[in-house]
């Protein structure tokens, strides 16, 4: 149970960075931290006590493997989610580069003030 609570705390640190901070790079860092917390949540749901990785090694029967390995479905979904997170970070970074070229600052207050 304490693992779930720690993940929720990490998620809310990311939400705080997204909402309260005025720097665009800090907001991107908040998005990144939210992605970490969600991936960790999915992996923790699929864990078994004393479980082995879902890879069949030689010298192990199928029944023993099925009864001991961790849940492979959340791992496969998280594998997709991590790569999509990277593409989101790339897009946000290029947006912030473009904003810096136009306004000369990463600060949201100055960007708002320059708008006519």
């Amino acid at each position: 149970m304490i693992v779930y609570i720690a993940i929720v705390v990490m998620f809310f640190v990311g939400i705080y960075g997204m909402i309260v901070k005025k720097n665009i790079i800090k907001m991107i860092i908040g998005v990144n931290i939210i992605g970490y917390a969600l991936n960790l949540f999915f992996i923790v749901i699929g864990y078994r006590n004393g479980g082995i990785a879902p890879i069949l090694v030689p010298g192990m029967t199928i029944e023993e493997f099925v009864s001991k390995a961790v849940n492979p479905l959340p791992q496969a979904l998280v594998l997709t989610s991590i790569v999509i997170d990277l593409s989101i970070i790339c897009f946000l970074a290029s947006l912030s580069i473009r904003i810096y070229e136009k306004y000369g600052s990463f600060d949201l207050e100055k960007i708002r003030r320059l708008k006519g």
Binding site: M1, I2, V3, Y4, I5, A6, V9, F12, V13, G14, Y16, G17, V20, N23, I25, K26, I29, G30, N32, I33, Y36, N39, L40, I43, I45, G46, Y47, R48, N49, G50, G51, I52, A53, P54, I55, L56, V57, I62, F65, A69, V70, N71, P72, L73, Q75, A76, V78, L79, T80, I82, V83, I84, D85, L86, S87, A93, S94, S105, F106, E109
Partner: protein, 177 residues
């Protein structure tokens, strides 16, 4: 391999401290470096939770994201002072925190306890992948065979993101203002 719960709590605590430093640090470069630390600790924790494929992918993606964000801020004005957060934002965050802890206590009845996974579909995949498909690694069997349409969707999303980045960062064909 059995790991006691103290080590889990230690790793999670280090991750929370690293993310708090990444949000509240005054300089952008130090906050990016502590974000990289959080990613590395997450990779170690995936390895402990017996997910080696995820650990490798997380390590590579973390380093790539760090390089991209560092190249976005190098040569630019990183010493610009961050305007301090407003007080009512803190108040809203406090309310959010209380509501989410009530959510967690209601999750207690829905989600399984840590270490007791619900294996309804997972057991099927674990049994079918070595016998029917003759694949030893079940995770790659799910990604490439059982749920191949999800992988096509992932490729579409990445393609769209690359097109967006190319449109945003092009130099040619832009009108001078």
């Amino acid at each position: 391999m059995v790991i006691n719960t103290g080590f889990h709590i230690f790793l999670l605590l280090m991750m929370i401290i690293g993310s708090i430093i990444a949000i509240f640090s005054k300089k952008l470069i130090s906050s990016l470096v502590s974000l990289g630390t959080v990613g590395m600790l997450l990779s170690i924790y995936f390895l402990i939770l017996s997910a080696p494929d995820i650990a490798i992918t997380q390590l590579v993606v973390e380093i790539l994201a760090l390089i991209i964000l560092l190249s976005a801020i190098t040569g630019r004005d990183v010493t610009a002072d961050m305007t301090s957060s407003k007080v009512y934002a803190l108040f809203f965050i406090f309310i959010f925190l209380i509501s989410i802890f009530t959510f967690v206590s209601s999750f207690y009845f829905i989600f399984p306890e840590f270490g007791n996974s619900n294996m309804r579909v997972g057991e099927k995949y674990l049994y079918l992948a070595p016998t029917k498909l003759k694949v030893a690694n079940v995770v790659t069997a799910i990604v490439l065979d059982f749920r191949g349409y999800d992988t096509i969707g992932e490729a579409t999303v990445i393609f769209t993101a690359i097109i967006g980045v190319m449109v945003l960062l092009r130099k040619k064909g832009k009108k001078d203002e």
